[in-house]
């Protein structure tokens, strides 16, 4: 079970969160089907650090962005989503 650093609540247990996938900008609503298909179905699967979204549903009910290492499972740098890193 992971410990996730919420920028609003501090370090909290994974059971309070739901996973939201990699943090990546979605195409604009006007973009064509090919762009959406690329964004949804052609995801990087890095061995190492990546940014991802978690929803702190049983806490502050905010979406947060964290960096997780996909091998060591280390999680760092919790931040609100509207502040791009």
């Amino acid at each position: 079970m992971l410990i996730i650093p919420c920028p609003w609540c501090g370090e909290r247990d994974e059971s309070e969160f739901s996973y939201g996938g990699p943090a990546r900008p979605l195409p604009s609503l006007d973009a064509d089907a090919a762009a959406w298909r690329r964004a949804l179905y052609s995801c990087d699967n890095p061995m190492g650090w990546r940014e991802e979204l978690w929803f702190h549903g049983f806490g502050c009910r905010q979406w947060v962005v964290v960096r997780r290492h996909t091998v060591s499972q280390k999680i760092v740098d919790g931040r609100p989503p509207e502040n791009p890193s």
Binding site: A35, L40, R61, W63, S72
Partner: protein, 992 residues
């Protein structure tokens, strides 16, 4: 009498309490043991040699170890609902009245009919599951499955409800020390002195680990007494706790460690699962002795040398009368003195190494005993227990030494217990002496100490524990306190693990074909060789093909032998072969422990609506709908379920009824950009919605699949009130918040989850307007003032209320909402206002009947795969404005003809109900499904069975060919497609 039966109990020594006899039964026979015994030691004290039969060949097996690595002595403990199968007798702490049975034998452990399987051994070799039970396919369920189930003797599950109480506890601490042996205690006493919050756990009932099974002296007292004293001191330190009978079974991510505390016969809690989150972990888990590979190595009476010593010193049991020691390293020689002390006649030491490789210190310990250097064991004999050993020189000469012995102590070197570390990925490698050691630094937050780190010798382990404690203190930024290391008595010997010299590498596998590698699964060296020949040489393949290491002991003894053999057969270096993955749990854990209190009504948290007590007062039959307690229907005296549902439907269709709507998801969308936000979030047009109006709305996922439906109401310019279906309320909230926070943060909009703030009732039926007029006298309820899909804010009995004219049932309908705490008053007012019309509450079943009659979609149609077009909702999708999911909802893959569409079904004979979940097929073409039934009822309104279904368009479907088949319930019903909705197609009743 109690003492007399324990023929193997030594008169002196041991840590058992001879004054506290404990009665127990094994296979129906009554025995006595002592307080402090395990089931294994008590059986051994009573001279029981055969405790189990092996899995495949039903060979007699005895006790081989003294811990969780035991492959043989697997038993069932308890009876009826308290029965627990597959326990290792070496881990079962004896208590008064314990009832234990052997597994895997019939009719009895001493006379086993299955032993003839031993004669069929060639048929049961490597991969026999895959080879033997292949064809014919039809034989599987009838014959093969039954055969395998009968032969596979892994105990029987308990019957009925387990009365035991299982508990979960959470704990946070600075340091968790796993293992209270010399290294663990040395680390813990230093950490406790430094004032850290610590947890020290050990799987055994006594602290001390190897100290309790030997005769070492520390600080002038017996090792076991020193351990007890030290553990007591640690437990008395503030913030420290010592958990005995507590095994660490899983080392998870982010330092989460699961401990299982077994409390046999003690208090009300049977087992306890600890979820400990320490900042630092010290693994002082010790080492497990390895067996030696030779033909006939599975007879009762052959045991690990360290186990024999432990039975003598820990339990005061003589494991035999005439012994040989079989070793491939120096540690075996230390055993000699302990056997002699217990009055056991040691006949010989058989060492696989040539004389010149045997250590001088080892040889100095030998007095009056033959050492057969450079010898191998070629066979053993004895039906129910070892009787005779035939050893020959490894150089191939025929000179044979036949020795009469009933005990063989095997000492094959030591493997550090690194399974917990393996749960994190990394595990072991082997150093130049073939000693296993951690493959890499254990990573942040974990220190390894003592024999688990490959350290040998008592003094060295104590020092290494202190060193590990220093590492931990440093990592936590604390001072290392000054604490004198315990002093070891000079007499204290080398027996506690000394894996020097060659151990397994010079196997000469060809001579060892009949040796058992995995005793629990009956895998021989021959099986491994054959598997390699057949191309399963990769260690993970080999494991699955031969089942070596797949027993409940997870191959704690056999895995290294397996690697040795593969290395030799394939000519690869040991390192290249690698080892299989250590998976949690370290030892088997009962389901009760994992489940804890989360069973029955405590399985998950449940919710009640504001009308809960009114439902109960009305005699509702309640059921759980997701997490909600919700009325199924309200049966009256003498009424069947079906009759109640039918009455409720007729009441709504002919007069007026009311239903609890409080479980719906309910959100307020506020702010100047709320309209833009909703326009982007929903697939149909919403920004044109005027104040005081609502609209049915559809929400898509990014990929164009329907996420949910609901209503969107515009209360005022900047205040919108939207609903989500009960089942999807959480998903929709998360989705909307994600759009607001992550995707469109520039919009001036706020979302408020108001679901729990409102209590809502839907009033439906031809007389609904009359009821509403009485309940909300200030509201103009005329069709002109409040038309279909209108919404108003008004007052109810002095409090604020919201009224929406929407209908799910297909009748004239209103939904009325008041503050949650005014729910009871609203209920009473509605019930009173409708009395003269025969008003009645209705439940989820009537609601479902009416929505199917109207062809409305619900959860079983919104199944996470369906698109708007498939559900007949394609016309709702806006063409001009952008919205989430637009790009893909119009893509060819979402429109393709292989997709299905929502249809209505009636049974051809208008009488036979259509099975729910049935598969739709054309005629007798059973192999191709054209769709499935999503919802089905017998409609009281239409007087016939109706159903909703997802059906693929098919050219092969001829007239009158469609059938709904449900092989599970054995039904096959001819059905016809009917147009939707089934009821009031013009919608005149809704708009009245």
């Amino acid at each position: 009498m109690t003492a007399k039966s324990q023929t193997r109990r030594l008169a002196q020594g041991g840590l058992v309490d001879r004054t506290r006899p404990l009665a127990f039964t094994f296979n129906g026979r009554a025995f006595y043991g002592c307080k402090g015994d395990t089931l294994a030691s008590a059986l051994m004290a009573n001279g029981i040699d055969v405790v189990a039969r092996s899995l495949k060949y039903h060979r007699p097996r005895g006790i081989m170890t003294d811990g969780p690595e035991e492959p043989n002595a697997v038993v069932t403990v308890g009876e009826g609902s308290s029965r627990t199968p597959n326990l290792k007798a070496t881990e079962v702490v004896l208590h008064d009245g314990l009832v234990a049975r052997s597994q895997n034998c019939w009719p009895s452990v001493n006379h086993d009919v299955g032993a003839v399987a031993g004669l069929a051994a060639p048929l049961l070799g490597a991969g026999f599951y895959y080879k033997t039970f292949m064809a014919p396919r039809g034989a599987w369920p009838r014959l093969y499955e039954r055969l395998i189930r009968h032969a596979a003797g892994l105990g029987r599950a308990p019957e009925g409800h387990d009365p035991g109480i299982y508990e979960h506890r959470h704990s946070q601490c600075d340091v968790l020390i796993v293992g209270a042996g010399p290294a663990g205690l040395a680390a813990a006493r230093l950490l406790a002195r430094a004032g850290l919050r610590l947890v020290l756990c050990d799987e055994r009932s006594r602290p001390g680990g190897s100290l309790t099974g030997a005769m070492q002296c520390i600080d002038g007292e017996a090792g076991s007494a020193w351990a007890r004293q030290t553990a007591g001191d640690i437990a008395a330190s503030p913030g420290a706790s010592v958990l005995l009978d507590t095994c660490a079974v899983w080392l998870g991510d982010h330092q989460l460690v699961s401990l299982v505390e077994r409390r046999p016969g003690a208090g009300s809690v049977a087992e306890r699962l600890w979820l400990v989150r320490p900042r630092q972990i010290v693994l002082a888990t010790g080492a497990i002795e390895r067996p030696v590979c030779f033909p006939g190595n599975d007879r009762p009476g052959i045991m690990l040398a360290s186990a024999a010593v432990a039975y003598i010193h820990r339990y005061a049991v003589a494991p035999g009368k005439r012994a040989v020691i079989h070793t491939n390293n120096d540690s075996g020689y230390g055993v000699l003195r302990h056997l002699c002390q217990a009055g056991i006649d040691v006949k010989a030491i058989i060492d696989t190494r040539p004389h010149e490789l045997i250590g001088e210190a080892a040889l100095r310990m030998v007095r009056d005993v033959d050492v057969l250097a450079g010898h191998r064991i070629v066979s053993t004999a004895g039906r129910h227990r070892l009787r005779r050993i035939d050893a020959r020189p490894a150089d191939g000469s025929r000179r044979s030494s036949v020795i009469d012995a009933d005990l063989m102590c095997v000492a094959g070197g030591w493997s550090p217990t690194l399974h917990l570390l393996g749960h994190r990925g990394g595990a072991m490698r082997h150093d130049e002496h073939d000693a296993a050691c951690p493959a890499a630094a254990p990573g942040d937050g974990v220190a390894i100490a003592g024999a688990a780190a490959g350290v040998t010798g008592l003094a060295e382990c104590l020092a290494d524990g202190a060193r590990a404690a220093g590492t931990v203190l440093q990592a936590l930024g604390r001072e290392v306190p000054v604490l004198r290391l315990p002093v070891i008595d000079a007499e204290t010997e080398v027996s506690s693990g000394n894996p020097t010299g060659p151990s397994c590498r010079s196997l000469d596998v060809r001579q060892q074909r009949a040796a058992f590698v995995d005793l629990q699964n009956d895998v021989t060296a021959q099986d491994l060789m054959r598997a390699v020949d057949e191309g399963y040489g990769a260690i993970e393949h080999l494991k699955r093909y031969t089942t070596s290491g797949m027993g409940t002991d997870q191959g704690k003894l056999g895995n290294l032998m397996t690697i040795d053999i593969v290395a030799e057969v394939t000519g690869q270096p040991f390192e290249k072969v690698g080892h299989t993955t250590f998976r949690p749990p370290y030892t088997p854990v009962t389901l009760g422990t994992l489940v804890g209190h989360a069973r029955g009504e405590h399985l998950f948290p449940t919710r009640q609506t504001p009308f809960h007590h009114r439902h109960l007062a009305e005699g509702a039959l309640m059921e759980l709908a997701g997490s909600w307690h919700y009325p199924k229907c309200y049966p009256r005296d003498g009424e069947t379920l079906d009759a109640a549902i039918e009455r409720e439907v007729r009441t709504v269709r002919n007069a007026v009824g009311f239903v609890d709507m409080s479980t719906l998801g309910r959100f307020e969308i506020l702010g100047p950009d709320a309209g833009i936000f909703l326009e982007r979030a929903y697939a149909n047009r919403l920004s044109t919605l005027g104040e005081g109006r609502c609209r049915y709305a559809l929400m898509l996922r990014e990929d164009g699949v329907v996420l949910d439906d609901g209503t969107v109401a515009r209360m005022t310019t900047d205040c919108w009130h939207v609903t989500a279906s009960t089942a999807h309320a959480g998903d929709v909230w998360r989705h909307l918040e994600r759009l607001r926070q992550v995707e469109w943060p520039e919009l001036h909009v706020r979302l408020v989850d108001v679901g729990e703030q409102w209590a809502g009732l839907a009033i439906a039926g031809p007389r609904a307007r009359d009821v509403l007029a009485a309940v909300a006298p200030e509201l103009d309820v005329s069709p002109e003032a409040l038309p279909f899909l209108g919404c108003r804010e008004t007052a109810f009995d002095g409090v604020r209320a919201r009224v929406f004219r929407i209908s799910y049932s297909g009748e004239l309908g209103y939904e009325v909402y008041v503050g949650a705490r005014h729910g009871d008053r609203l209920w009473d007012a509605v019930a009173a206002a409708g009395t003269s019309f025969g008003i009645a509450p209705y439940g989820v079943e009537a609601l479902d009947v009416m929505r199917i009659e109207k062809g409305h979609c619900a959860g079983s149609e919104f199944d996470g795969r369906s698109t708007p077009a498939e559900l007949g909702l394609g016309r709702m999708i806006k063409r001009d404005e952008p919205f989430l999911g637009r790009a893909l909802v119009h893509s060819p893959a979402r429109q393709h003809s292989f997709r299905q569409r929502l249809v209505g079904l009636v049974s051809t004979d208008r009488r036979t109900p259509i099975p729910r979940g049935a598969i739709l097929v054309a005629g007798t073409q059973r192999s191709r499904a054209l769709g499935h039934v999503t919802a089905s009822v017998v409609s009281p309104t239409l007087g016939q069975p109706i159903a909703l279904a997802m059906l693929q368009e098919s050219t092969s479907l001829g007239d009158g060919e469609l059938r709904a088949v449900s092989p599970i319930v054995g039904l096959d019903v001819a059905v016809e497609i009917a147009s939707l909705p089934f009821y009031d197609a013009e919608g005149g009743r809704t708009r009245a």
